[in-house]
């Protein structure tokens, strides 16, 4: 039981640090990278400790990690360049 409450306090510390980073005026790129790292760390802590993924066999862990994060990343990488390109075109030539 104790482990879960330690996990709980670690998650709260992470949340507090993220809120602090939001109020601090960090450069945009550093801020986004920091937030993404903190988010993935929190997600890993929840999956590993609360969902007991760290106690499962590797095939199940890989199914979940690759299935979710891998597919999510592929999906994002497929569409993100398109949005950036359209944004650049509109910036350059105007909305019409």
């Amino acid at each position: 039981m104790k482990t879960y409450w330690i996990t709980w306090s670690v998650l709260l510390v992470f949340t507090a640090v993220m809120l602090w980073a939001d109020s601090a005026s960090l450069p945009r790129q550093a801020f986004v990278v920091f937030m993404l790292i903190a988010m993935l760390t929190k997600a890993t802590i929840i999956a590993a400790n609360f969902m007991h993924l760290k106690a499962e066999r590797l095939p199940l862990v890989l199914t979940v990690v690759i299935g979710l994060l891998g597919m999510g990343a592929v999906l994002w990488l497929l569409i993100a360049p398109d949005a950036t390109r359209i944004h650049e075109i509109v910036t350059k030539y105007g909305p019409r």
Binding site: L19, M35, A47, F50, P59, G72, W76, A80
Partner: protein, 204 residues
Amino acid sequence: MMQTDRLELLTGAHTAVIAGWRKVMMWWFIVTDGLLFAGFLASYGYARLLAFDWPAQSGVFSLKYIAAMTFVLITSSATMASAVEEARRSARDGRRSGALKYVLPTALGGLAFLGMQAYEWAHLIGEGARLTQNPWGAPSFGAYFFLLTGFHGTHVLTGLVILLTTAVRLAKGITKEEGVEMAGLYWHFVDLVWVFIFTLFYLV
């Protein structure tokens, strides 16, 4: 140990990943449901990159309030993890499960979260936020806010029903260790999704 695993595999009691079929199916469900959210969040990211006037979140939301919602959800996840542990221990010791005393506070946390979300929705609707427009900037902001938080809130509501059902079944002595674990996996998943929404929609 290996002998047992092999025997269990041969009798079909376990799948090839050496976990009970219920757990494997639950994880498959979580992965597919998670992909739905991944698609949603990727689409939101697309809209963000495309938008020229995406509102600054700190000007729209009270981040302290959202942090309080996060606190409630994380705490309910910790009580749910304790429920699963208690169910495991009581099954091991052959005594009646005391998981109910952890499942009920978890359900209370879920209810509090939903109430807070309903208040946040009412507040923003009162300020003029709609699915197709809002007073702060890019029209898609309102659509993504209501759809992302609404979709997540529906999951919390489903989780609440699962928790209350589990609580009743625990009180009757019907639900066993594995039932509590499955309810726990779903509840943690709801918490996990919130981590992504909280970071990507409210902070970044």
